[in-house]
Structures are given as C-alpha cells and as structure tokens.
C-alpha cells in the first residue's frame, strides 16, 4: 500500500515534465472561468486565453526523443509527431482567437466561450497523444461535448438547430465507436493499443468481427474529421455556428482526429499483417469524401455551407496522405495539414469580415472586388490555395501527398489507390467551380454592395501575413519540411 502510493507519486511526477502544455491549458480553463466572474471585458479575456495558448505552444517539448516518453503508465505519450500536431492545434487556437476577438456578433458569455474553446484544444492535445483506448474515448468526448455547446453559441434558432443535429449525430457516432472499442478490448485484453500484446492479439485473430469492430472505431474518427459517410452534420452545424467557431471546427478537431486515426489505423492494419485491407477501406473513404464534399459544394449559396463542404473535401485530401501508409505520406500529410490551417483561416477571416459588414450570402459579394480590392485579392489567394493551384503552398501540399500516393501505388499495385489518385485530382477541377464562385461574384458580377465605413484594416494586415506564408511555403517548402523531416514516426 505504502509502496503503491509512493510509486504512484513518482510516476505522476516523472510524467509531469512532458505534460506541461496540457497542465497550462487546464489551468487556463479554470482561470478564464474565474476571470469571467470578475471581469467580462473582451480584450482582457482574449489576452488571457492568448497567453495560455502561447504558453502551451512554447512549452511543447521540441526536442523530444524520437521514441518519446510514455506518460502516466501508458495512457499518453509525448513524441515529436504528437508535438508537431499539438503545435499546429495551438496555432489553430491562436488564429481562432484572433477571429473571436474581431467577431462583433458573439458578445455573450465570453468566459464560458473561451473556456470551451480551450477545453476543445485540451481534448485535441490529449487525443493526438493518447495511446490508450480509454484516453481516445475520453478526449474525443471532451472535444465533442464542448463542440456541441460551441455550435450553439450564436444563441439563435439556427444555432440551436445546429447544436441539436450535431449532438444527435455525435452521440450516435461515439456510441458506435465505443462499441467497437469494447470489442477491441475483448479481442486483446488490453486498452493500450500501442503495446505489443494488442497488435499481437489482433494479428492472431483475424475474424470478421475484428473487421466490424475496426470499422466501428473508424466511424468515430471519421465523424470528427467530417469525412464521409459521417459528414452530414457539418454543413448544418457550420451554418448555425458563429464564424470563429466554424473556422475552429474545420481545423482543430480535424487535426486531432487525423493524428489519432493515423496511429490507430497502423495498429489496426497490424503493420501490414492484417488479412483485411485497411488501406483499401481508407482509400474508399477518401474517394467518397472527396467526391461528396466537392460535388455537394457546387450548389451552395451560403459561404459557411460552402466552406463546410470544402472542409469535408479537404478532409479527403488529408486522408490521402494517411492512405499512402508510408512515412513520407505522413510527413506530407503534416505539411498539407499545416498549409490547410493557414489557407483555411485566411478564407475564414475574410468571410467573418464580410459578415461583420452584413454580407451573408455569396450573391451579396457582388461588386465587392471593386470596392474592397485587397480583401478580395487576399481571399482569392486563399481560395486558389484551397483549390490547389500554384503559386500557393496548397499546390505544393497536394503535389506532395499525391506523389506519396503514387509511390504507394507503385509499391503495392492496388487499383483502388490509382482510382483515388485519379479521382482526387479530377476533384480539383470540380472544386474550382465553387471556390471560384466567390471571386466570380466579387469581381465579375456587377452590383452594388452596401458600403460600410469598416475598411477591414486589421483583416488585411493579418491576411497579408497569411498570404505571404502561403507564398513562402510554395517557393521554399524546405523551410517547413526541414522540421517535419525530423519527425520519426514510430508507434511503439
């Protein structure tokens, strides 16, 4: 008993040093809640949250050993793969915060708002670190629960509807996932999916039930990724939610889910020993996701819904990096994810700027290209990057992930990978249709849009920064790939 206690304390203490960012986030949540009781001014709260996230970002272990540290007796692990994704998640958080600060619509209950955002970030951190089924479930749940609330933060009819749909869909998805997890536990007798026992047990028993259980667990991840067939919630939720939340949803939970999915699928695939072709399963998912996302986006008139379908399609591109099942694929996926964060926020920051002046449909952007040249030009760069055309880093990212896929196809010769390659690239043409719709209305359609004194100076400066980042990453991707290259991907 005595020894147990001292052991526990030693264990916890040895784990804490690599767990500082998460502790800071947790403290930040509590502090923001407390501060909300005393002071409700937007500026101070924002600054406080900003400080929390930045602190969490700078305390991330940047030279973690390649094999990382297993913390809390195998619950989570801190390695440089998770550190990179956590950093990206924090960057997403900071960008969301910038948007939230500029948001003129969400004014109520700011401290709760910010603490919920922080909690999602915390959950995302834990999800990419987890190597235990229980931790996967819990961190997914904390993200989901906070997201349900955030989706309704506009306190409007649409917000409530979005919340309800999100909740019902999410609860079912997590129940399905949980059932799958329980079966996996039954097969292996352990919750630690990075352990040798887990993968050895899975390799021995390759029955249909294992496949079903794997699919069920995937459903949970796909739901967070908004990947088909678990995507229908996204457009409704995005339309009803405040703009910063939409931008946040399209980045942070996705990054966390793709990181965890990547680790998990490798285990599920038993490192190539599985009798079931998980690569093909994911490839099919990616094909459906790309196609559904892009084709549904074609008919959208509301910029938020458009971006919802766009983010579904972009999940498909992220999945392409995972499907390659190659170390390069994962590195390129990280590159693409980084670029995605930048281009996505570039677009959203302007959509919010326009929403603030009262432009809520794409049709109302008519003539904006003449009145507000710079916002539209920067927005155009963002949309071009999302389409994946040069000279933006969006092109580089797509080039990278598709070259990894080509390589995977050359190695394995599975036809489904070739289909993914061809369909993925052809989808780019489809995506052009809707991404160009915004500049089309802004530059080409003639019309009068309401003039407002707000000249979006801040958005322009911020947008310029992101645009430059996209260009720099195109002309010398080595800057970023140098870092990503150092990430050694090991599951155990």
């Amino acid at each position: 008993m005595e020894r147990d206690l001292s052991e526990t304390i030693a264990l916890v203490r040895s784990s804490l040093h690599a767990f500082v960012p998460e502790l800071i986030l947790s403290l930040g949540i509590l502090l923001v809640l407390l501060a909300g009781l005393l002071n409700r001014r937007r500026g101070r709260l924002t600054l406080m949250v900003f400080g929390t996230i930045v602190l969490s970002l700078v305390t991330l272990p940047h030279h973690a050993a390649p094999f990382g540290h297993t913390l809390f007796g195998g619950m989570v692990r801190s390695d440089n793969f998770s550190a990179y994704l956590r950093a990206l998640i924090d960057v997403g958080g900071v960008l969301t915060l910038v948007m939230a600060w500029r948001d003129t619509r969400t004014t109520e209950r700011l401290s709760e708002y910010y603490s919920l955002l922080l909690a999602v970030i915390l959950g995302a951190h834990l999800l990419v670190m987890s190597q235990n089924l229980l931790m996967v479930f819990l961190s997914l749940e904390i993200m989901s629960l906070c997201s349900y609330v955030l989706a309704g933060f506009s306190f409007t009819r649409q917000g409530a509807e979005g919340s309800l749909k999100y909740f019902l869909f999410g609860a079912v998805a997590s129940a399905v996932m949980l059932y799958g997890l329980s079966l996996l536990y039954g097969f292996t007798g352990t919750l630690d999916f990075s352990s040798g026992t887990f993968s050895a047990a899975l390799q021995q028993q390759q029955t249909p039930l294992v496949f079903v259980a794997g699919l069920m667990v995937l459903a949970g991840f796909l739901y967070k990724l908004a990947a088909a067939p678990a995507h229908p919630w996204a457009p409704d939720v995005y339309e009803g939610a405040p703009m910063p939340v939409v931008a946040f949803f399209s980045v942070v939970p996705k990054l966390a889910a793709i990181g965890a999915l990547l680790k998990f699928v490798l285990v599920l695939n038993a490192f190539g020993q599985s009798t079931f072709d998980w690569q093909a399963v994911l490839a099919v998912v990616a094909i459906i996701t790309l196609t559904v996302g892009n084709f549904s986006a074609l008919w959208q008139k509301n910029p938020k819904r458009l971006m919802a379908y766009s983010s579904i399609a972009q999940s498909g591109f992220l999945l392409v990096g995972v499907v390659a099942f190659l170390p390069q694929g994962m590195q390129f996926m990280l590159f693409y994810a980084t670029v995605y964060v930048v281009m996505n926020f570039l677009v959203f920051i302007y959509l919010q700027g326009f929403e603030n002046i009262g432009l809520e449909t794409i049709a109302s952007y008519q003539g904006l290209g003449r009145q507000r040249v710079w916002p539209m030009v920067f927005l155009l760069v963002g949309l071009v990057a999302l389409t994946g055309l040069p000279p933006t880093a969006g092109f580089t990212g797509k080039l990278f992930i598709f070259s990894a896929l080509w390589e995977a196809y050359a190695l394995s010769g599975k036809p489904v990978l070739l289909w993914l390659l061809v369909i993925g690239l052809l989808n780019t043409v489809v995506s052009l249709f809707y991404y160009l719709r915004i500049p089309y209305f802004a530059f080409i359609k003639n019309g009068e849009s309401p003039t407002s004194t707000n000249n979006l100076t801040f958005e322009n400066l911020f947008g310029l920064l992101l645009v430059l980042l996209l260009l720099v990453l195109f002309f010398s991707p080595g800057l970023l790939m140098g870092w990503i290259n150092k990430i050694t991907f090991v599951i155990r």
Binding site: L134, L164, L191
Partner: protein
C-alpha cells in the same frame, strides 16, 4: 463461477441494435437519447463481460465506469440542447427542426 460469455455478448448486440433502431425510428429527440443510452450500455456490458476473460487487470470495468461518467455528461448537455431547441421551435421532433439544409 463465470457465466457463459456468449450470453453477455449476444445480449449486448441485441441492446446495441435496438438502440440504433430507436435512433432511426423514433421521431422524438428524447426517445433518440434513450436509444443512445442503450447503445452505450451495450458497450458497457461488453466491457464488463470481457473483463472476466482478463481478470488480472480491471481495465474493462474501469472503462465502463468512465463511460457512465461520459454518459451523464452527454445526457446533461444533450437535454439542455433539446430544451433550447424546444424553446425556439416548440417541438422536439428533429425532423421538424429543419431550417438548415441544402437549399436548391
């Protein structure tokens, strides 16, 4: 003594399927919530039953405990959301709450 594992698992499968059916068939948010509870409990039953196979650790039971906690949180938030929607729409039928959709 240990009861046959298959009994637990089959019961869990039945509960899970019924839960799913409730979610699909019932046109009321609270009934759907009940269906979701059934699905969660099916998973819990699995976890507890499987723990009998691997008695050296308590992983399954611990997982089940955490699932109960999660279920509480989910129900609380879920009901709050249902009430909120009811306040706006005067109904708890999700199909009737449909202002957001792909408009042609």
């Amino acid at each position: 003594m240990m009861f046959p594992l298959q009994h637990f698992l089959i019961l869990a499968a039945i509960l899970f399927s019924i839960g799913l059916m409730l979610v699909v068939v019932k046109r009321h948010a609270i009934m759907m919530l009940i269906g979701i509870e059934l699905m969660l409990n099916a998973a819990n039953l699995n976890l507890v039953a499987f723990n009998q196979l691997y008695p050296t650790h308590r992983d399954g039971q611990m997982f089940a405990l955490f699932v109960i906690i999660v279920a509480v949180c989910e129900t609380a938030v879920g009901l709050a959301i249902i009430l909120r929607t009811y306040h706006f729409y005067q109904t708890s039928v999700p199909d009737a709450v449909a202002e957001l959709s792909d408009k042609p």
